[in-house]
């Protein structure tokens, strides 16, 4: 398994232009991605931000810089992955690249999302980010605690 990239692929049973609209227009993107109103349009070089609406992350701002826009086929942006600590200034840290690739198929449209560049994110930062979401591990520890104290 690569530690540098995440790749996702999904078949959407609609036309390519429908998918392109959902991926490349600020209003529709915000709706499915889970952010509030985006303060601009998806054009190359644009720095966009929005409030995050995902439960538990409402105190955070979503920031991206649009990289490439090739109508109906490709869109990419850069961001700071897992920038979940509002007290940390992430601006000097490396970003990851998020790419959306659209392909027409007989059944509809295949959308592939690739996020890459994780290897340049400091390991300590990755561990820290995990620490904010370590419910699984804490639960295990509680189970052990229950077991040894019973």
């Amino acid at each position: 398994m690569s530690t540098d990239r995440i790749e996702k692929s999904i078949l959407l049973r609609v036309s390519r232009s429908r998918v392109w609209h959902a991926v490349s227009t600020a209003q529709e993107f915000a709706a499915w991605f889970g952010v509030g109103e985006i303060d601009g349009e998806f054009v190359p070089g644009a720095s966009l931000s929005a409030r995050i609406t995902h439960p538990g992350y409402e105190h955070l701002t979503w920031n991206v810089t649009i990289d490439q826009v090739k109508p109906e086929s490709f869109l990419s942006f850069r961001w700071h992955p897992y920038a979940v600590d509002p007290t940390v200034d992430y601006s000097d840290e490396p970003t990851t690249l998020v790419e959306f690739l659209l392909e027409e198929t007989v059944e509809g449209t295949r959308l592939t999302v690739v996020e890459s560049g994780f290897d340049s994110i400091p390991l300590a930062r990755r561990a820290e980010a995990f620490g904010m979401n370590e419910r699984g591990w804490s639960e295990q520890i509680k189970n052990i605690a229950r077991y040894v104290t019973s």
Binding site: T3, E28, I141
Partner: protein, 116 residues
């Protein structure tokens, strides 16, 4: 055939061996619920000596389950889930968020098309 599993099992063996002792399991549980603790804190109330606790902590440390930091003259012990494991879970978390987002996208684009 799964080439990853023998390696994974070999990696997990020292962990299970280290946890296969009631005192060590109790130490892990204590560090997990209380957070980093000094030897003095870990020894207080325990029915074993400080030397014995130190020995157990070293067994846990060699399995990569705990690590110690020096704070002045004291050693502070804490759980160590391992940076590699943390990095792996970090990717898992992000991966999960993409799954959720793409699920919402699918719903958004396919729903209005139901009257096709």
């Amino acid at each position: 055939m799964s080439p990853a599993s023998p390696t994974a099992a070999a990696g997990a063996a020292p962990v299970f061996a280290a946890l296969g002792d009631r005192t060590r399991l109790a130490l892990v549980a204590r560090l997990g619920t209380a957070g980093p603790l000094s030897i003095a804190q870990l020894t207080s109330g325990a029915p074993v000596t400080r030397q014995a606790i130190t020995k157990h902590l070293n067994v846990l440390a060699s399995a990569g389950l705990v690590r110690d930091r020096r704070r002045g003259r004291e050693h502070i012990w804490e759980l160590d889930i391992g940076p590699v494991e943390a990095a792996r879970r970090y990717l898992e978390q992000i991966s999960l968020r993409w799954d959720e987002a793409l699920g919402r996208l699918k719903q958004l684009v396919e729903e209005p098309a139901e009257d096709r």
